[in-house]
């Protein structure tokens, strides 16, 4: 079933390219149907994941490169199950968000679906080489997607983003090889590698490699600078996928490879990580305060919110890690909604300067409602997904590093300031006469917004299954590290 979630997007990419160029609507529907199938598959796996049993489930294994001891081994656990679902939701909405792309739409969908196949592959693989294969596959399509279909300084933004991320994977690749050799197992299988106890120097040195390498993609300060510019340059669906899903691969990699393989290294470095993550949270929020460009504002808010994810990881408590993974899901949905809304406004207004707007709620009520919903989730209003996730992260932080917890709370307050100020500036107050004829969100976009909004509320009011599944994934990791005295 996991192999299907990887193969379907990939086949879709090929099918979309094979459809004649004058039949773009057919291609878009093909993409939408394929994305819907992945939602069905991932929902099925998420709902049927047996959290009492835990561990990897839905496991599949195919031989691949026997002389290196590599097989395509797929499976999901409590951490990857919700993230697979997240990916499917975001790509489904991403297809509708790109419904109105005019320049070479089929090529656009091709790269988008290759990227998604890569992301599913990362979340679904147990073999570390296969993991890395898909990781790189997910990063590379970003370059053409941004450079061809982007906007503001697109060539620069695309190149900077790609080089940062690939520089990160230099460290990941090296660390993978080091672990492989140090284990002496002649296997890249995560379940084999994690049974080995590595020498202390291997643990400390290469956990740092994993932490920084994945941290680049996870938006870890000070390696986050590619992120706001990259998001500003990227087209809507790419921003949605990138901030919504791809950045989560970073934090996911730190947990999946770093903490699982090198527990002592994790113990050594996580206090550093949580300190940096706090900088992320506070610095991202303060920077967001100063932004005039819509997308930059959301970009910096992503840096801040991804900081909570890293903070939760750094607490090394079950509740903190649980919050971190839930925050990945929640922020993924929320930021996808944000970028979808901004993209919708930008498509018709052709400006993203916050000061240019005013009173849009009168002409575009749908956009205004969803914007308020996403904004309030970002602030952490109870009843929406952001509250549950950030609450858990902060509880974990207060248990371990109370001072950082206070800083985290202050950042929530700053978030409230910039979100509410943005809402006030753009949607309320007197209507700027320039925008009297501004159209509201188009049909396909409203559909995508409703789905994302639904999940924001769902996780907010009924997080139980999410929390149970995630706990079954993070608890063994925490026990192993804390127990590895």
């Amino acid at each position: 079933m996991i192999s299907a979630t990887i193969v379907i997007p990939f086949l879709t990419a090929l099918i979309v390219m094979a459809i004649p160029r004058d039949k773009t609507t057919v291609a878009k529907w093909a993409a939408a149907i394929a994305a819907f199938v992945t939602i069905v598959l991932t929902t099925y796996m998420f709902v049927n994941y047996d959290y009492q049993k835990g561990g990897f489930q839905f496991v599949e294994q195919y031989p691949w490169i026997s002389s290196l001891g590599v097989s395509v081994k797929l499976g999901i656990d409590g951490i990857s199950a919700p993230l697979m679902l997240l990916t499917a939701i975001v790509i489904f909405c991403g297809v509708f968000a790109s419904w109105y792309v005019k320049d070479r739409p089929q090529e656009f969908l091709f790269f988008l679906f290759v990227l998604v196949a890569g992301v599913f592959g990362v979340f679904g693989s147990i073999d570390t080489l296969v993991f890395f294969f898909f990781y790189e596959l997910a990063v590379i399509p970003m370059y053409p997607l941004i450079a061809i279909w982007g906007s503001t300084r697109k060539e620069y933004g695309a190149m900077k983003l790609t080089l940062y991320l690939v520089a990160g994977s230099v460290l990941i690749w090296t660390a993978l090889l080091a672990v492989y050799v140090a284990s002496g197992t002649n296997s890249f299988d995560l379940e084999v590698l994690q049974k080995v106890t590595y020498e202390p120097w291997v643990q400390t040195v290469f956990f740092a490699f994993f932490m920084v390498g994945f941290g680049v993609l996870g938006g870890l300060w000070p390696f986050h600078t590619w992120s706001p510019g990259g998001h500003a340059a990227a087209p809507t669906a790419v921003s949605m996928l990138h901030a919504g899903v791809l950045m989560k691969l970073g934090a996911y990699g730190i947990i999946r490879l770093g903490m699982v393989l090198l527990p002592e290294g994790a113990k050594f470095w996580l206090p550093v990580l949580i300190a940096i993550a706090t900088i992320n949270v506070v610095y991202g929020a303060i920077s967001a305060l100063a932004q005039k460009d819509f997308k930059y504002l959301i970009g910096y808010s992503s840096v801040s919110h991804c900081g909570y994810v890293l903070m939760g990881i750094g607490t090394l408590t079950v509740i903190g890690l649980n919050g971190a993974v839930l925050q990945m899901f929640s922020h993924g949905i929320m930021t996808a909604l944000f970028f979808l809304l901004v993209g919708s406004v930008y498509d018709s207004a052709h400006t993203r300067d916050l000061n240019d707007f005013g009173g849009l709620a009168k002409v575009a009520p749908v956009i205004a409602i969803f914007f308020a919903l996403a904004g309030l989730a970002g602030v952490g209003l109870p009843g929406l997904s952001g509250f549950v996730a950030e609450f858990m992260v902060l509880v974990g932080t207060f248990q371990t590093y109370p001072i950082l917890g206070i800083l985290g709370i202050i950042a929530v307050a700053i978030t409230a300031v910039y979100v509410l100020r943005m809402l006030a500036k753009v949607f309320f107050g007197p209507l700027n006469t320039r925008w009297v004829k501004l159209p509201d969100a188009r049909r396909a976009e409203v559909f995508a917004m409703s789905i994302l909004g639904f999940f924001l509320v769902l996780v907010g009011v009924y997080p139980t299954h999410f929390v149970r599944v995630i706990t079954s994934g993070v608890a063994p990791i925490v026990t192993r590290i804390v127990g590895a005295q």
Partner: protein, 478 residues
């Protein structure tokens, strides 16, 4: 007499002279027939070579090996030669004269490489290497109307002769110490004496220098960019793919079969050579404006990756020799695809600067796509063979305890992404200067389809090729 072991080589000689001979009776406007005849002949020889698979006969006391390692690369060289001949058709008609000799010399160079792959002794190796070199001296200066081509020929012959002399001197020093020229004999002598005297070391270094020229390893790489730029583009492609691979398989045979007992003495030297080659190739490539010079420096860098593999050779593990073979084949196919794109674009527009590729994706979508696949493969991106082969190479380095070398190599691979993406940017992001589709010949499209399919299929499922490579690796394991 097991003369039948030489059948492929005999056939190649006959084919070359048949082309030379028929040239005299072929009218000037029908020279394409010679190319087709040559290509079909080479395909037949591939069939003959494949029939020997699985046997390991040796001829004349270890003088000539017909093991899987040799056979694998014979097939590879013949395949590359077919692609080169077929993609030369338009180019040769447009820019070159004396086409019969042109195609005949390509076949002769292929014959030299086939012999090199089988050589089990230093003089045989040297003579076959010279056959390859002399063919290329002529071929690289074949574009008589282009002064750069003449310059390329002169540079190549002077530096090539110099490097041959170095290598010959090195061989004589080794002979002086061992009283034998066969690889097996050298291996035995090295194992017995155990100790390296000065003559040995100097001999090994001189041979390494000589072969370093052939594979364009730093600091013996100076000729490559100028020759690559000046030579007719199909010949550049042949030089950078097959000639380089031939140099490397001789290097691997020498160091894995003859010099292996003293591996600890040359491993560090080889690693340093690898680091220098990768770094200089990649960093200088960053500044290139001509696509052929860019690919020249990129191929220098790729030679550096292969040297990482050579530095990781070990008598107990086949990882490094597997990786070298996989990378030579993978790099060869990817580079060949890139060069076929360069050839067709040059034929159609007479342009060869990177900036001239602006908007290629709109003018010739499939050529741009093939170039994209080739460049991503060279950069080591997943889905293409470059990813697997680099992963394999660097795993071999890490396996020999050289994680630092793996780190340097991975870092270099990252640097290279910048200049490969620079070409992708021109093709896909920039707008063309003069719009309008390009009329790409059907034959070129077929060749590109074959190459792109190979590059991606091996990238996704390398197991069949790796099984063949594993069988070829057997001879290097004690």
């Amino acid at each position: 007499m097991s003369w039948w072991l030489f059948i492929p080589e005999f056939l190649a000689v006959i084919l070359a002279f048949a082309v030379f001979g028929l040239d005299m009776v072929t009218p000037a406007d029908k020279k394409n027939r010679l190319a087709w005849g040559g290509a079909i002949g080479l395909l037949v020889i591939i069939g003959v070579v494949v029939a020997y698979w699985g046997q390991t006969p040796r001829l004349y006391k270890e003088l000539f090996y017909l093991d899987n390692f040799a056979l694998l690369f014979k097939v590879f060289f013949l395949f590359v030669a077919v692609v080169i001949i077929l993609s030369s058709l338009d180019h040769a008609r447009r820019f070159l004269s004396h086409l019969g000799e042109y195609y005949g010399l390509i076949i002769l160079a292929t014959l030299g490489m086939m012999l090199m792959a089988s050589a089990g002794e230093m003089i045989t190796a040297f003579v076959s290497l010279e056959l390859v070199s002399f063919s290329f001296y002529v071929l690289s200066s074949y574009d008589k109307n282009n002064p750069k081509s003449g310059e390329a020929g002169i540079k190549y012959i002077i530096i090539g002769a110099f490097s041959s002399a170095l290598m010959l001197y090195g061989m004589s020093l080794i002979y002086a110490a061992t009283k034998t020229t066969t690889f097996a004999g050298i291996f035995a002598a090295l194992q017995q004496s155990g100790q390296l005297d000065f003559g040995w070391v100097l001999g090994i270094i001189l041979i390494l220098a000589g072969l370093g020229f052939k594979v364009s390893a730093v600091p013996f790489h100076m000729w490559a960019p100028d020759v690559y730029e000046g030579a007719p583009t199909p010949i550049t492609a042949y030089l950078s793919v097959a000639s380089k691979a031939a140099g490397f398989i001789l290097l691997v045979r020498l160091f894995a079969m003859a010099f292996m007992p003293s591996v600890e003495a040359w491993r560090l030297l080889m690693a340093i050579l690898a680091v220098a080659t990768m770094c200089i190739g990649n960093f200088v490539a960053l500044r290139q404006v001509n696509i052929k010079r860019l690919l020249a420096y990129s191929s220098i860098a790729q030679a550096g990756y292969v040297l990482v593999g050579v530095a990781s050779l070990s008598p107990s593990s086949p990882l490094a020799s597997n990786a070298i073979m996989l990378h030579l084949v993978g790099y060869g196919l990817s580079n060949l695809a890139a060069f076929v794109c360069v050839i067709v674009y040059q034929n159609l527009t007479q342009k060869e600067d990177i900036a001239d590729y602006a908007g290629l994706s709109r003018r010739a979508p499939f050529v741009a796509l093939a170039m994209l696949a080739a460049l991503f493969s060279l950069a080591g991106m997943p889905f293409f063979v470059g990813f697997i082969s680099k992963f394999y190479l660097f795993t071999a380095a890490a396996d020999q305890g050289m994680i630092w070398l793996a780190l340097v190599a991975i870092f270099n691979s990252f640097i290279s992404l910048y200049y490969y993406l620079g070409v992708v940017k021109q093709m896909y992001v920039r707008s063309p200067e003069e719009p309008g589709p390009l009329a790409v010949p059907a034959l070129i499209n077929v060749i590109l389809v074959v190459l792109v399919v190979l590059v991606s299929v091996i990238g996704i499922y390398p197991e069949p090729l790796l099984r063949a490579i594993g069988a070829a690796s057997q001879i290097f394991i004690a």
